[in-house]
């Protein structure tokens, strides 16, 4: 038998316009804990989706070999049959059903044609013990905490005689104690012969448990480090994660003209009502006139929640503490309409999901937040609307056959320009850009950056939330770094480096998520 339980050879996967994985080879030894790290968008999830059969055989190049046998997974069930189980960040449990039903859903223990519930409950108890849970199997999932749910997910995988267990950011939503508990369990499973692939952003955990660390960057394997032979440090991983050549795609601002403080939040604390947990804790932030402030942090660090809570749209959130000041005056936004009225705009991270009305045309979308500017009495003046939209089309170079073209027919970059145009029409003083260049090509990125520079030189202020470190470094005057709902650091553009940001973004603080 081969030393490797799993080999993925020369995997290449392309999406329209993007090479998500480029000739990736990935080998996992029997019975090890293999950590997969990389920035957001490096290709980790794509690789795991190929392994689990979400992207079926034939939609990618390369081969998967398990125990020396080449495999062709056409469906998730094919990989399950080979003992591969994947546990995603968003758990796939049925909250209204008891633990024992969840454990065997889809693989019910049968007695003839009916389900053998007695046997199910007995087996459930045994499996729960294996993951260290001493719970009544009849407990409903909704009555469990996040940490216990995570363990139930693992128990579910174990019930299927799993050989390779893949965990995608299992500790992202867990507090310290639960995280440690989970990592101990992984060590325990390893001793029982289960191979684990762990995807995580928390480098501290990785250096603690990993036998091998594979670093992905821009769809390629950068390196595979053997952590059993020698101690791998967090710094070393960070260097591999970010260490690429810096291309000069960030236009220089002609003149930096930073004025007094325009916007400030103090001790901003927000609670998610449903989960009854703090998602933002004592956030302090200042933005000056004519300044681009970058907000860096990993997914789930609370950046979008921060933007939404500032903008007055926090469904299910309560702002339990803190004040917000605009031009020195305390303000409160109960609805995005209030924020817009006060000159704050928010370009969402998901332009298709909640940014644009795709089935409407370009001019409809641009005029939406500030229709009152086009009102003549009761009537929206369509002539002025067309003239205005044409102006934005020209000045932003929005490539569309006409301003009466539906937005769904525009390319991603042009949709993004339309979303920015929409907010500029509302004449904000402060504009929050959430992932302004996600999913658009280099050329369109450059245009967005140029536009941002123009805006701040006119005296506008920008908060730019971004997962792309280079973008944050290239565009910001000042950078806040968030982790687990708190600001873990503030850096000046001059002193900031990718390593410093990564270190702060992966810093775990005590107690915040509890």
């Amino acid at each position: 038998m081969s030393d490797f339980i799993l080999e993925m050879k020369s995997i290449t996967k392309e999406f329209p316009g993007v090479k998500a994985l480029d000739d990736v080879s990935f080998q996992v030894r029997r019975g090890e804990i293999h950590c997969l790290v990389g920035e957001n968008g490096a290709g980790k999830s794509t690789l795991m989706k190929i392994l689990s059969g979400v992207y079926p055989f034939g939609t990618f190049d390369g081969s998967i070999v398990i125990n020396g046998q080449p495999q062709q997974f056409r469906h998730v069930s094919d990989s399950e049959r080979q003992g591969i189980a994947i546990i995603y960040q968003e758990l796939a449990l049925f909250p209204e059903l008891p633990i024992y039903e969840n454990l065997f859903v889809g693989h019910e223990i049968m007695k003839g044609r009916i389900i053998n519930w007695n046997e199910t409950k007995v087996r459930a108890k045994e499996i729960l013990k294996r993951v260290g849970l001493d719970l009544d199997p009849a407990t409903k999932i909704k009555d469990l905490g996040v940490g216990h749910r995570q363990l139930v997910e693992i128990a579910k995988a174990l019930s299927q005689d799993v050989k390779i267990l893949i965990l995608d950011e299992p500790t992202a939503a867990l507090n310290e104690a639960d995280s440690e508990n989970l990592l101990n369990l992984l060590q325990e499973l390893k001793s029982q012969g289960v191979t684990c692939i762990l995807i995580s952003h928390k480098l501290k955990e990785i250096v603690a448990v990993a036998d091998t660390i594979t670093v992905l960057r821009d769809g390629r394997v950068v390196t595979s480090l053997n952590a059993k032979e020698r101690k791998v440090t967090e710094q070393e991983i960070i260097k591999h994660m970010v260490g690429r050549e810096i291309e000069n795609i960030y236009p220089k601002r002609e003149q930096v003209n930073i004025g007094d403080v325009l916007f400030e939040i103090k001790d901003w604390t927000v609670v998610d009502r449903a989960a009854n947990r703090e998602i933002l804790h004592d956030v302090n932030m200042q933005v000056r006139r004519g300044e681009i402030v970058g907000v860096a942090g990993l997914m789930g660090s609370g950046r979008t929640e921060l933007a939404l809570s500032i903008f007055g749209n926090a469904p299910g959130y309560d702002i339990t503490k803190g004040e917000m000041y605009l031009e020195g005056k305390a303000v409160k936004f109960k609805h995005p309409a209030d924020a817009i009225q006060s000159g704050v705009a928010y370009v969402t991270e998901d332009r298709k999901g909640n940014g644009l009305v795709l089935i409407q045309d370009v001019k409809f979308n641009i005029s939406l937040p500030a229709l009152e500017k086009l009102m003549h009495g009761l009537v929206v003046n369509e002539h002025e609307e067309i003239t205005m939209a044409e102006e934005y089309r020209r000045s932003f170079d929005i490539r569309t056959p006409s301003v009466k073209t539906k937005v769904e027919n525009l390319s991603g970059g042009n949709q993004q320009k339309a979303s920015v145009a929409k907010w500029l029409f509302a004449e904000p003083n402060l504009i929050i850009l959430d992932e302004p260049t996600r999913g658009i090509d280099i050329g369109a990125k450059y245009e967005i950056y140029t536009l941002m520079n123009q805006l701040v030189s006119q005296g506008m202020s920008i908060i730019m939330i971004s997962s792309e470190l280079l973008e944050v470094l290239g565009m910001s005057d000042r950078i806040y770094i968030m982790s687990e709902g708190t600001i873990t650091g503030e850096l000046d553009a001059q002193e900031a480096t990718e390593e410093k940001i990564m270190a702060l973004a992966t810093k775990t603080t005590e107690g915040v998520m509890a």
Binding site: F311, T348, N354, V357, V380, K404, K422
Partner: protein, 405 residues
């Protein structure tokens, strides 16, 4: 606006190509008109001409009235992706309330505003449940359907059918506009004919203005031949309908009421900020909220407007039957929803026009009217209407998914 949907390539492909492209991009609207023509031709032949007699066509207009106003209100509800199942019995109940008030001796000019106000109250109640308490509209209005059905049988329990005798009230669904003094002795209704001519002039004027605007901003327009052909066609249809009415007893009051409601709602939807907000919410409610639109408030108002339209429908129906009956309103919601969907409201929300909804209402009510003339059994009528309804939606879903691909 239709002209804007013609693709640019058509401009270079000659008349044949332009017509093909027009048909391709407006297939939904055309299908509705074709259905209407097919229904008219079929029933005309089957009834040996009785269907298109002046008397029956006027009858059709009066029958369509109450469904048309319900369908206009329903179009807004469906655009923002909600539904109102209670409209039938709300209309029935409020009609009965009006009849009772008149029986008690209230003046008709006091009764009508009171009933309309009650309609708004009902809409406010349902809007409150949907937006504030977050009970899904389907549940809220299904419950409303039971509540108002119950209330209707309760208020009519003692008396059974309540006869309405007020002449003004009866005019609403059975009367005609008075003629001008100079029309006396003519073989046709002068004012009706004049109104028809005014309408033709208005259509020609607005169409030419729209075309000029499109040209001014360099948007694609149809070729002059098609444009003139369309104008001539519309003018002929309007004049034909006008002539039929003018040579009978003139324009029915119902048509006037529906026309006023239609003009107001069309104005609101196409010209005002509120209309923009409705389309934005239907297209993407989350994006609308994040653009500063108060989604709850708009939803609330749309339900209030639906209540108002239900009350108006109740008045028209009661006037038409000259009585309030314990089963008034049965199945109206089906006719109203079907009219909207046949008229091109998208099941996915965000799309729909009240002007087309009216044609949809005409399709549904011509079917009803024609089948009644032929003496088709009422049970079978339900089956036919159900099939037409589901076909219309199936057609909508398939044409839209093709357009996307």
């Amino acid at each position: 606006m239709k002209t804007a949907r013609v693709s640019e390539t058509a401009a270079h492909g000659g008349l044949g190509a332009e017509i093909r492209s027009l048909v391709a991009s407006n297939i939904r609207d055309y299908a509705m008109y074709i259905a209407l023509v097919v229904i008219f031709v079929t029933f005309t032949i089957a009834t040996q001409g009785l269907f298109v007699s002046s008397r029956n066509l006027i009858n059709l207009v009066n029958q369509t009235g109450y469904v048309a106003v319900l369908a206009i209100g329903m179009t807004l509800i469906l655009i923002i992706k909600h539904i109102d199942l209670s409209v039938g019995f709300v209309a029935g109940f409020l009609g009965a309330v009006g009849a009772i008030l008149m029986m008690k001796g209230w003046n008709v000019w006091l009764v009508i505003p009171t009933v309309l106000l009650c309609g708004i109250v009902v809409g406010v109640y349902q809007g409150f449940l949907v937006t504030r308490i977050k009970v899904p509209a389907f549940v809220t209005t299904l419950a409303g359907m039971f509540i108002f059905r119950g209330l209707l049988s309760w208020v009519t329990a003692g008396t059974g059918t309540i006869i309405v005798r007020d002449r003004t009230f009866l005019q609403l669904s059975n009367g005609y506009i008075p003629d001008l003094p100079w029309g006396e002795g003519l073989s046709f209704h002068l004012l009706t004919l004049l109104l028809g001519l005014v309408m033709v002039a208005a259509v020609i004027f607005t169409q030419i203005k729209q075309r000029q605007d499109l040209k001014r901003y360099n948007f694609a327009t149809t070729s002059p031949v098609i444009f003139v052909a369309k104008l001539v066609f519309f003018s002929l249809v309007i004049m034909a309908v006008t002539w039929i009415m003018a040579t009978y007893r003139g324009l029915p009051w119902t048509a006037v009421i529906v026309a006023v409601v239609l003009v107001i709602y069309n104005f609101i939807l196409t010209k005002t900020r509120f209309g923009r907000h409705i389309y934005a919410i239907g297209g993407n409610a989350e994006a609308a909220e994040l653009s500063g639109i108060k989604v709850k408030q708009v939803t609330f108002l749309v339900f209030a407007s639906m209540g108002l339209m239900s009350a108006l429908a109740g008045i028209l129906y009661t006037s038409r039957l000259a009585s309030a009956t314990p089963t008034a309103g049965l199945g109206f919601e089906m006719d109203a929803i079907a009219s909207s969907y046949i008229g091109g409201v998208s099941v996915g929300g965000g799309v729909g026009r009240v002007t087309n909804t009216i044609v949809g209402a005409l399709v549904i009510m011509s079917l009803t009217n024609g089948m009644n003339l032929l003496g088709v059994d009422i049970s079978f009528q339900y089956v036919v209407k159900g099939i037409i309804f589901v076909l219309a939606v199936a057609f909508d879903v398939t044409t839209r998914s093709k357009a996307k691909a």
